[in-house]
């Protein structure tokens, strides 16, 4: 497998990472994801890493990068399903993923994105005459 599938769910994109990442895969994912955000005008990106048992600084940085890119394209990134051991490893590595929102599972992550969308729409409605 040389590509990670990106699923569209309403206004959000769902990415499930299930295999070990390496640089080429990460670059491919960043290309696909940014292209998809623009094409679907998505407002949120859910990255599900519940299948990852091992996370290194490379993946940590990749998540940060994806979040930064999505933010520029006005989509919010939520990392969901992190395992306890992975969370401890990332903290010990000094990567606390400051720019990324987190949620326990996909459901909670969707709630977060929906809350943001509702807020955004309310904004526009208020401004409308």
């Amino acid at each position: 497998m040389d590509r990670i599938p990106i699923l569209k769910m309403g206004d959000a994109l769902l990415v499930t990472i299930q295999i070990d990442m390496h640089d080429r895969l990460a670059i491919a994912l960043q290309n696909d994801l940014t292209a998809n955000i623009v094409r679907h005008r998505s407002k949120g990106v859910l990255i599900d890493i519940s299948a990852l048992e091992v996370v290194d600084s490379f993946i940590g940085r990749m998540l940060d990068n994806i979040a930064a890119m999505s933010r520029i394209l006005d989509a919010e990134t939520v990392v969901v399903g992190m395992r306890p051991a992975v969370a401890i490893t990332l903290v010990e590595l000094g990567l606390s993923l400051k720019g990324v929102k987190t949620a326990l599972n996909v459901e909670r992550g969707m709630d977060l994105i929906r809350a943001r969308l509702d807020g955004g729409n309310a904004d526009i409605e208020q401004r409308a005459p």
């Binding site: 306890p84 969370a87 909670r108």
Partner: protein, 291 residues
């Protein structure tokens, strides 16, 4: 005189006078005290002494008197380690444990002087050899004793750190982590693992870390707290810190530590915030008509 010869002579001597040696040794051990405390029975000591003498005879039959780490001494070593361990468990002091071996010196010296009394050169080399050997064996016993005590201490430390880091569910989606005692890196690890696992199990959104029971907060403890908060955030749970005593608030500011977390003075306040964030409300019920 060569050491194999000394060894074989000693071995013959011990074999010949084994019963006499044993009874004299037993008498010394009885007067030394361990028996009087009632922590060990006479027959048990006698059994241990007899086993030791037998093992010693077999060990030195090979002609080796110097190296107690040699394979020929394996049985003796095992026996002494066992004795050291059980004595530690029975609550004997190091001195009493060591006296098990050292009290054998006198009976053997008596034996040697009765045998070689006239040949002082021979007597000296024999006593020197056996004395060195018994010293080494005595130290071996003490090491085993010490090691078993250290094992006990380590086990207790582990138990304490397990016991003192409970994670309590206060409400649906709200966890509390009352920390008691000093936070070092090993304990932080346990705390973190417990907390994160419980977040997964209960699907909690908010965790309250209560540090009322933490005696001092220095930069290291603060860093450990922040690590725990960061790890919980990665799992999608927000942390509140509560139970900050006045002195601790002052220390934190003096040290220049930035906590960057919602902190409350008491657990009650933190719980209030947690209820609010999860959309719960506590309402006092109107009192029923009072008499």
């Amino acid at each position: 005189m060569a050491s194999p010869q000394i060894a074989s002579e000693l071995q013959r001597l011990i074999e010949k006078y084994e019963d006499k040696l044993l009874s004299e040794w037993m008498r010394l051990q009885e007067s030394a005290g361990p028996l009087r405390s009632g922590r060990i029975s006479r027959s048990e000591i006698e059994q241990q002494s007899r086993n030791f003498l037998n093992a010693l005879m077999r060990a030195i039959a090979g002609g080796n008197l110097e190296d107690v780490n040699a394979p020929s001494f394996a049985v003796v070593r095992d026996l002494l380690e066992e004795i050291g361990r059980t004595r530690a468990g029975q609550g004997f002091s190091q001195r009493e444990t060591a006296m098990f071996i050292f009290s054998l010196k006198q009976p053997i010296m008596n034996l040697l002087s009765a045998e070689y009394g006239k040949d002082s050169g021979h007597l000296l080399s024999q006593s020197w050899a056996i004395s060195l050997l018994l010293d080494k064996l005595g130290l071996h016993t003490i090491e085993a004793y010490q090691k078993s005590r250290e094992d006990v201490i380590q086990r207790q430390q582990e138990e304490i750190s397990e016991l003192s880091t409970p994670v309590v569910q206060l409400w649906d989606g709200i966890l509390a982590l009352p920390l008691i005692g000093t936070l070092d890196s090993a304990r932080t690890q346990v705390v973190m693992e417990n907390l994160l696992q419980r977040i997964v199990d209960t699907g909690a959104e908010i965790a309250i870390i209560d540090i009322t029971g933490v005696p001092t907060v220095d930069t290291l403890v603060a860093q450990h707290l922040l690590k725990t908060v960061a790890a919980a955030r990665l799992m999608g749970a927000d942390c509140l810190i509560s139970g900050i005593r006045p002195q601790i608030a002052q220390t934190i500011v003096h040290l220049g530590v930035e906590l960057n977390v919602v902190s409350k003075a008491t657990m009650a306040d933190a719980f209030g915030v947690a209820l609010q964030r999860t959309g719960n409300m506590v309402i006092r019920k109107p009192q029923a008509a009072q008499a």
